[in-house]
């Protein structure tokens, strides 16, 4: 692998900020656990985006100050949250009707791998040691109008996560439309990954060296 000098990969908040910049006002958005949850912190308060949590909270607001914490009001990650004016509560079945019925403009999930055909693997490692836990990942991935993945470009030991075919168990097939990594933003197109933009100093060649799937510049 070649060395890219003077390139500073985005940290978790940097990735979340980059993705948040692309969410327009008015979208209904579900954020997965982990880095995706950080995205809402980077949407300016004056830009109205409606965040939805699987457990039936529509219009999730920021985390409350300690004095205003209410354990009756949690998100799908079981963290205490607030409700924006205009927010509402629905049951789990109505919440997933919303999710599965194509009413989310966007879902943002983390992933182990994304394949060039849009497959996503984010729910299980292949080992059978631990009880598998899927939560709402498969419903979200199959149901949202758009699925954007936010993840490190490679694993800690440098193995690519943008692959030709996923090696981990799949969450859903052919559903990812865009990937935000610590190095770049890539669209999933019928011809595979297309690089929309890269962090300063990164080159297509250096990015390709960190990617299993074939990359091409966006049209």
């Amino acid at each position: 692998m070649d060395t890219v000098v003077d390139v500073v990969p985005l940290d978790r908040h940097g990735m979340a900020r980059r993705l948040a910049a692309d969410i327009p006002e008015g979208w209904v958005v579900n954020l997965g656990i982990g880095i995706p949850t950080l995205v809402s912190d980077h949407v300016p308060a004056e830009r109205e985006v409606i965040f939805q949590a699987e457990n039936g909270v529509i219009g999730v607001g920021p985390a409350p100050p300690p004095a205003e914490e209410d354990p009756w009001l949690i998100n799908a990650g079981k963290q205490m949250v607030t409700l924006r004016p205009g927010g509402s509560f629905v049951s789990q079945s109505d919440s997933f009707a919303l999710i599965r019925g194509g009413h989310l403009d966007l879902c943002v999930l983390g992933a182990f791998e994304v394949a060039e055909n849009g497959d996503i693997a984010n729910w299980a490692i292949s080992s059978n040691e631990k009880a598998p836990a899927v939560g709402g990942a498969m419903d979200l991935a199959a149901g949202a109008k758009r699925l954007w993945v936010i993840m490190e470009h490679t694993t800690k030991d440098g193995r690519p996560r943008l692959v030709k075919r996923c090696s981990y168990p799949l969450t859903a097939l052919g559903v990812v439309s865009r990937v935000y990594t610590n190095l770049a933003v890539l669209d999933v197109t019928p011809e595979g990954f297309a690089v929309r933009d890269m962090i300063p100093g990164m080159t297509l060649e250096a990015l390709q060296a960190r990617t299993e799937a074939k990359l091409r510049p966006a049209a």
Partner: protein
Amino acid sequence: MIDKFVASALEAVADVRDGATVLIGGFGQVGTPNHLIEALCERGLRDLTVVSNNAGTGAHGLARLMAEGRVRKVICSYPRSRGSVVLEELYREGRIELEVVPQGTMAERMRAAGAGIPAFWTPTAAGTQLGEGKEVRAFGGRACVLEHALKGDVALIEAWEADRWGNLTYRMSGRNFNPVMAMAADLTIVQTQHRVALGELDPERIVTPGVFVDRVVHIPYGKPRLW
């Protein structure tokens, strides 16, 4: 006069049988019928199938029920919560069956049971491990799997307010699986934080009509303990 209130949680679960399928409301620790689960533990039953989004934390509630060997099978979407050690251990030792179901499919399967739909098609899980062994058919060019109604013999529910007809409201994210489970079981048992007079609930604000409820116990439990 219709009066669905009973005196205690123990009385409410007195006729639950060995081998029953029990739907348990709540998401995380919010909206969980904790007193009804403890009462169920007291019954010393065998071979229960439990349907619940999470699989218990710590040593209380569902974790206790499993630890005491009452549960043959768990159907849930997310068994791996903070402190869900009991299930992990039983699972590793092969002493409990686990059916992991996508959360939306789990909710929809219970809604189907409550609404008289024996089976439905969904794209969720098609082509994945959790879709293996299921009938597949394409609709509009998209692969779907056939999912079947998931019905309970009993549902344990937590509500915020209840009246003697069993009309229920919920509080914030305490609503979660409770309304759908209430309609999906032959016997629906509710623990409610508040008991109100008939006619006191705004008819536009009732979430679960009493039609779906069989028994109610007044347990002013207070705030959920998150972990």
